[in-house]
Symmetry: C3
Subunit: 203 residues, 3 copies
Amino acid sequence: MIYWFDLLGVAVFAVSGALAAMQAGLDLFGLLVIAAMTAVGGGTLRDLLLNRHPVFWMKDTRYLLVIVASALAALMVGPFPGHAIAVLKIADALGLALFALCGTEIAEEHGVKPMPALLMGTLTACGGGVLRDVLSGQAPLLLRKDIYATAAIGGIALYFALKAMGLPMRWAFVLGMVGVAALRLAALYFGWQLPALQMLQLH
Amino acid sequence: MIYWFDLLGVAVFAVSGALAAMQAGLDLFGLLVIAAMTAVGGGTLRDLLLNRHPVFWMKDTRYLLVIVASALAALMVGPFPGHAIAVLKIADALGLALFALCGTEIAEEHGVKPMPALLMGTLTACGGGVLRDVLSGQAPLLLRKDIYATAAIGGIALYFALKAMGLPMRWAFVLGMVGVAALRLAALYFGWQLPALQMLQLH
Amino acid sequence: MIYWFDLLGVAVFAVSGALAAMQAGLDLFGLLVIAAMTAVGGGTLRDLLLNRHPVFWMKDTRYLLVIVASALAALMVGPFPGHAIAVLKIADALGLALFALCGTEIAEEHGVKPMPALLMGTLTACGGGVLRDVLSGQAPLLLRKDIYATAAIGGIALYFALKAMGLPMRWAFVLGMVGVAALRLAALYFGWQLPALQMLQLH
């Protein structure tokens, strides 16, 4: 079941990449590249850092097919109406939650300690969005707005805390995911943001 | 013979990187970095993703020597006259064709299926140009203008189609290369472009 | 002792990343990401290119702890007074020297030839700074200003020259480090810069 959730997460992230590409005025090829980067960029960086080969989308072609289909669908639906954007943001929060916990678990399976594993989970969940922003010529929004990566970190930390308290791994995993999604959705609903740090005059 | 073609492709891409660095007002070190990134960045990403070690320019130092020599030559020739730019664009189309098909074949040799292999070929051919643009502070042109990556994809698809129709691999390879170069040169000659996608108002 | 120097270099680079993040108006998460990227980004790229696993900060969690502590310290000290910046620049020159020579030696231990080893040393020392600039939305300063990477290259070249002249490796290593630091500090003190290359009119 996690596999199908995973494909759903990939689809949602591909749509988010496609929307960014349309906003940036890219062409069809650019749209597909940005959609793919957003959807599997984080997981690919994780696999490279963990020396996990073959990279997941190389052995299971379904990922690439889902990306192409989602990006083309986003293109054809065209300017998204407001409520479609809202649905997309909820799906995105679920994808974020799933990718964060799956990435963490994969790192643990590779014998990585909790602190770098938390980093790998966050990278899996948020790396694609950073690549999307850099490649479409923007400073990464992720680093500057929204409780997004912070939600991932919070949920992963909850997962480690629950495991340390003796909860079975499966329950800690699910509750960690719920934590990420709840933090992200609450931040969206209430408009929470981390404060930007004070400017410096270095000269 | 492919080896010498390969070095020629590296030289041409290094010159293109050096030109971009001069336009961006970088210094000598920046020029060499951008030239190297443009020339071997795509192939390096491919090798990392395929877990192919040592990375090709580490065992054969000739690649780095060719890059340094080409970049310095570009610097000394200085502002390129119009017809030198034209020669360069033709050589660039040949380099694109060679890198696209070689990258695809290397991926196939590593047991990668056609769809990700097509991706690896496109990455080999176009990844360096994207790195060049990001590092010299521009939104990647590749994703926004010109039939460039599209030519690579078209030629690689032709290669797979011809192989599937029973053509010997060697012939499919050569015809795929001809396909890439022809598409690219025709796009340059006739000014073909992919249409930019419509803008979206996300908020 | 090199290990403690290494952690010091990581701390200094993390502070430099944190300062850049504050200037760019990022939030707390962005600050930590940029600090980590600046501190270990170059070494991580080196490890990936050399196929050296696990990546150094995965097996020794102390690196991540030092990064978090340094970045938070930089945040709390707030707008740095002028003389703190001066101290930081000196520490940065020492970190640059250490990372350049350590990166080179690690590459040599992996059987890499001198020219790519020089590249690996430069990447270890300067890669993090380039990532910092790209992620905080600036064209990489490194490629455009200051004798920075050039100092790394000069010191590494000195190291190879001294080894070739028969000096024991340990002495060549130390003198190479002195070379990097001296070049960098002299460039800061005298305001040396590489000249920007001439602009080109490509069309």
